[in-house]
Symmetry: D2
Subunit: 338 residues, 4 copies
């Protein structure tokens, strides 16, 4: 941690700051510059030193040196983590494909979806039983019935089930049916929920919040890891920017950036990331080329009739074509798209 | 709702779309333009028509005409709503001042804070007992003990208590001690929590999410209102933008904009909105001049020793000076700053 | 400048970096931390040290300590600069009001505008003769003829003239007619233009670019100051964010933030900052309460007939009411609104 | 154009609006809805109708139906435009690679760069002779001497030369030496410059401004096209968002999005788009997979010694490896990477 003192800080102020740094259990080095004095505070300062020091009036800024997450860090575990559930594998050169409709709408719809995405090569089925909706007047999901339909689709196809859990009370119920629990973007900083899924022993797919920094994203993962659940999959699904021609702005550079900092698998959601079905195929191929460990794609047997997100859902045919393209890119680059 | 067909849409496509519009219970008017055909769909389309129509390939865009919220709308209730709890009044020309520390740290700290902010003219006390923290390693609050200290501070000073609730299971407990339940920015779209506070009959202070649009903000309020709780206070606390010199970017234009669209009171949080104590006094005055119905300000007996948010907390002296300035502005403009 | 070495940097790498720091004429202090080594580089490093050092592979980040601008800095000149032209005064407690139409449309229109805004209390007239327009098919301004009309309006009313210059070749011509040369937001980083207006000796009103950081904004001012022109007025006119309900997001916190860092006057453009006429009055009052040194407001004799920006233009009546409100706030806070 | 009247607009207001619409040469269709009346204005309204109508108080919003650009539109010219200069080809399945240093620093440096990027497979050389720099104290380029060195490098290698022009006065000079004139991101809305390069007959590489919408980007291209220069290459180089871990946020979805709307070639700048050399290789491969018509990549013989942008410059070895990866992706997808 580097404490930059304000222009004109007196000897006494500097001395007082040295004492405060040392009271945090850190060692202080004073460096007198031409226009500013800085104090380097040496030691593990991840916890709360920064906040406490920067409240002092004579301090201009405090610059942290260490990343605030530990368990998620590549420095803690240099080799990539691989998450495996049934035939789905993500990380370490394995690309897993999760596909299916936004919402579970009926038993027929989810079973048909499962068969279609499996035929095209997906190894996991997505589908929302509990749906977070911006409007209270929109379809909110089939709830436990939807989970039962998902389980039936798994029984019929062998696909792993990925579905969202929205509140701590539902974690146990959702975990009973699902193979992977999804935390939606709106809940990335719902800390009680993060802790609740941290206590179970099933993989968690954590979506980045639409305005979360990379550090906040990794700290949200850290909440789960810190409870003992080591199987966290990070999902970039686009951020909110001034761009409105797409639903969100999808920063694929998150993939190599996160790979440098964490061992956790990083996957891409091109459906929410663009919001427009016609942009999904090329963004899927681009994600694979960028090194993503997986994709989660919305596919609906008949997007025009979808109860939610139809605009960004691929038809089964478009999904099959997208898979073929992704496979060509994966093969060219030596990845295993299972 | 206006459905804009793609360039080159055929007669048959247009006819099919007319049928789909009518199947939603809306009336269709076809307008053939020089380069595009548009179909005006007349009727109350707030629910799910838009989403369903824009999935059709031959549609370029669907433009909603009606705002998707109803109960929150000024069209539903033209006169401003006033929320009153103890001596706190917000809305309709009344400016309420909520002040206090970020976290409840001890009985002495919160009692001293309460006395100090009351002396300066605040009518409500803020203080977090349950703290949402970005890092799992940071101080998470005193929990129920903190709520008890807050209640004790109310008994001693008469101030109304405003405190955050983070998860549905805690709503009952927090409501037992608090006068106003706060929903934090990270939870603005935690729909189970919104519904839970919608079921109680105490005012709810709803903070805008850092990347929420105005429409999403009003729809979050609608979740609460739709459960029967009519006392919702909207709080603008800054949005996340490319600006990093302040913690968030504080758009005061939200105040007049929201006043045009909703009858709910709109207050400003200049502490989170800037993240820098030295900017809080002028932003408080500006908020009053902009027509805000209240302020929520972080004040700590000794910000340097605060366990959280010390950097953006005012000292009791700075808060008293800020109050004096705000009162001068309120007086000049004819508002009642109680 | 603080150079943070990567985790695992060897002794040899650190030694090499020390040599590079010293080759830039800076003194190097090595601080060995528990997980990282940092090197403090002492000396005036404003020029190009940072860029050169951060290209080294073994460097994690380089943190600058000094702000990169000098002449604009409050450290260089602690007292506020006041810009005075005719009856317009901005800075040091003086609030100057610049008002008028977006574009000069005719001699009658600009003369009438001048009389109307003067009657309401403005001391300067704005009006575009050269108009930067997003579309090549939109009205581009009356050019030199427009400048002549502005000069005629000045002769008739005594108001100072503020008008935009778009390209270096026009600086001389615009300076012949105008009292203050405006650099538009789209040209904030048009460096040839900044240098050209730096060479004249008339005040320059520099608008912040819609995605410029505070540092970039002050460095753009530095381009002008560095050519010898000391009369620069900074104008916050809103930034581009995810918010689309207003034309831009207007961060009034720029006013106190800039006041802490620079001696230059800081004014607000609530017209572009919101894009909606009905929001301008309260944002004007808020800007005054925030401590702004001036306002630049679009006013049109008949906004419905304006050739540009009619949507955000006040009527003469609304402007007069806005001025009255602003004056009440200024009086309450001890500012001189001339 | 769709004019949405405010709730409660009277018959008289509607009638007046119909007259205004018709006075613009458009045909008006009135549709009376359950809560709002809308007026559809039929005809080519690209020019200034919208602005004029939305200033009327009784109007809630005006929704344009037609895109405001014409010559750039895919509707005007459905087949893709291909820009060819020497061995560089971009568009219609051809991927052109432009590579070289940020700045021309010396004759040796640029010649060596040219030889290195050509050896790795680039067909054009980039290098700045006129450098827009955020700080007036940073290196500003070798100016005409730099152009001469670039021309010498072309003579020696046959590579096409791509270099930036910053101001209208320099267009003739730069065009004398360059094969492709680049308009930098900061100048995307420098309209005098756009018109000046529109008057010459050499291809123009137009970079997207960091906060420009797609519509503004295409309208900037339209400024050039409208002057008669039909060879415009669009370059996505990243936008400014809340993300600070990368220099800009690089939205690769711009590629398929623009391809749907315009016939102009679309290329990607992964160097500015990320600002970090280690992220450039995967973003280059992703851009190719996304369908980009070309790449412009910063490569320096020794990035550590670069006078600008060293942090984001590839070494010649890293560039050669990146080219090999891109070629594998291009081959897999059937593109010609020349």
């Amino acid at each position: 941690m580097i404490v930059v003192m304000k222009h004109g800080a007196t000897e006494a102020m500097i001395q007082k700051m040295v004492e405060r740094v040392e009271s945090l259990g850190l060692k202080a080095h004073v460096i007198v510059g031409t226009e500013r004095t800085v104090i380097a505070a040496v030691g593990d300062d991840r916890d709360q030193g920064k906040e406490s020091l920067e409240t002092c009036e004579e301090v201009e800024q405090v610059v942290p040196i260490l990343a605030p997450y530990k368990i998620a860090s590549r420095e803690t575990k240099p080799e990539p983590s691989i998450v495996r559930v049934r035939d789905l594998a993500m990380g370490g050169g394995n690309i897993g494909i999760i596909a299916g409709p936004c919402s579970v709408e009926s038993e027929e719809q989810i079973l048909l979806s499962a068969q279609q995405v499996k035929a095209a090569g997906a190894t996991a089925l997505r589908g929302g039983a509990f749906k977070p909706r911006t409007s209270p007047y929109a379809f909110q999901g089939l709830k436990e019935l939807g989970l039962q339909y998902l389980a039936a689709a798994r029984d019929a196809t062998g696909l792993a089930i990925v579905t969202e859990v929205m509140t701590p009370q539902h974690v146990e119920m959702v975990a009973k049916y699902a193979d992977v629990l999804q935390i939606g973007a709106r809940n990335m900083q719902n800390y009680h929920l993060l802790q609740a899924v941290g206590e179970i022993r099933k993989p968690v797919l954590l979506k980045r919040g639409p305005s979360a920094t990379m550090e906040e994203f990794l700290l949200a993962a850290e909440y789960i890891l810190d409870q003992g659940n080591q199987e966290v999959i990070l999902c970039e699904r686009g951020v909110r920017t001034f761009e409105t021609h797409t639903r969100f702005t999808l920063p694929l550079a998150s993939v190599p950036y996160l790979h440098e900092r964490t061992h956790l698998p990083v996957i891409i959601d091109p459906s929410h990331g663009t919001g427009i079905a016609s942009l999904v195929p090329s963004m899927s191929a681009a994600a694979v080329a960028a090194g993503a460990d997986g994709l989660i794609i919305e596919v609906h047997p008949d997007p025009k009739k979808a109860l939610s997100d139809g605009k960004q859902s691929l038809t089964p045919e478009a999904f099959a074509a997208t898979m073929a393209t992704c496979r060509r890119v994966a093969d060219a680059l030596g990845y295993v798209l299972s």
